[in-house]
Symmetry: C2
């Protein structure tokens, strides 16, 4: 009679929530939107989730077919978690939920902000009509490529072939920069942001124009 934890409701909304409605589940999906990640990377991205809980969610999401795991090297070695084809269809929903949540009150400090989160926000905020640019972005040591070209903003993991500008900072600082353009100068001055390349190009990328 434990009747599991299902909503036992035939509606598609309830059935979706049976799969991704439990605590942390959609944040795991968020983390996997840009790139497959390893267990330890997910832990770093979601520092307020305990390890057992994260392991539970990953197992459940895998069991429901939202994510899969793939070995990086054949036969024993590190593995990454990635969205399945079905799981990837959550992307527009999760992004829309993020837009909606912008208007919510801020959570109590201290807060976390993962690289994936801020990159998703940057991708949505960057003006696609700004001039083409390739930016190398080093966030907490992991390297990303932000590319604006022909009206599209792309973000993916790894080194760019060539870069117009190069930025090194951490997710929370980048988040502050996006929220408050005025903070860019002081961040550069105190070294929390290191820039190689044209400052004006960076401002166009982050704030449009």
């Amino acid at each position: 009679m434990p009747t599991s934890r299902s909503y036992r409701d035939s509606c598609g909304i309830a059935r979706a929530l049976d799969v991704v409605g439990e605590r942390w589940a959609l944040l795991v999906v968020r983390e996997l939107l840009l790139v497959p990640q390893r267990f330890s990377e997910l832990r770093h991205a979601l520092p307020h989730a305990s390890s057992n809980l994260l392991a539970d969610r990953l197992r459940e999401l895998e069991h429901h077919g939202v994510i899969g795991r793939r070995k990086l090297t054949s036969t024993a070695g590190p593995q990454v978690y990635e969205l399945t084809e079905w799981g990837r269809k959550l992307e527009p929903i999760v992004l829309a939920l993020g837009d909606w949540g912008i208007d919510a009150p801020n959570p109590p400090e201290p807060t976390s902000l993962s690289a994936t989160s801020v990159l998703i926000f940057l991708r949505g905020a960057a003006r696609p009509d700004s001039p083409p640019i390739v930016c190398r972005l080093d966030l907490d040591g992991s390297v990303w490529t932000v590319c604006v070209a022909s009206g599209k903003v792309q973000v993916h993991s790894g080194e760019p072939a060539t870069a117009d500008i190069s930025l090194r900072t951490d997710p929370k600082t980048l988040g502050s920069l996006l929220a408050d353009p005025a903070s860019l100068d002081t961040a550069l001055a105190e070294g929390s942001v290191a820039l190689v390349g044209d400052l004006l190009a960076l401002k166009r990328l982050l704030y449009g124009g």
Copy 2:
């Protein structure tokens, strides 16, 4: 130090989940998408949620500004819960989540299916390019108007001014009908669906064509 139940993550997605991520919250929102509802109506729509939990969620959603409560008569009397302007912005997100959840495995029986759920599904499934029609729909005693006109499908609570066809059934039967067109004839025969008007018009409304 209880550090509440917040995700403590600055990302908009996490902040949205701080508001509507708790159990039952989004199903309450779903119930209020079509029409404001009273406490007892919500209980009937979500029979697997206990009363204290429903009261808790309503209080929290109100506190966060997703829903509000309004007195039907001035000074003491019944009250209804309704979405705020901000809460109404969840509609496309919740509908998209429902579309995604259609592909999820069905929950274990027995399942519930509220009038709102099935009407939302009907509204999305009905072909807007079918001929104009006004349908009076009596679901478990509450009356709705389904109106197809000029390429739009509308569903709202209450009696239509005039109706081309009139249907009386319950949400679960209507859900079965939408899922399986072949079940319509037997449902009519055994009386679980009562139709007044043109059967062909009903089939066009439910299944397109």
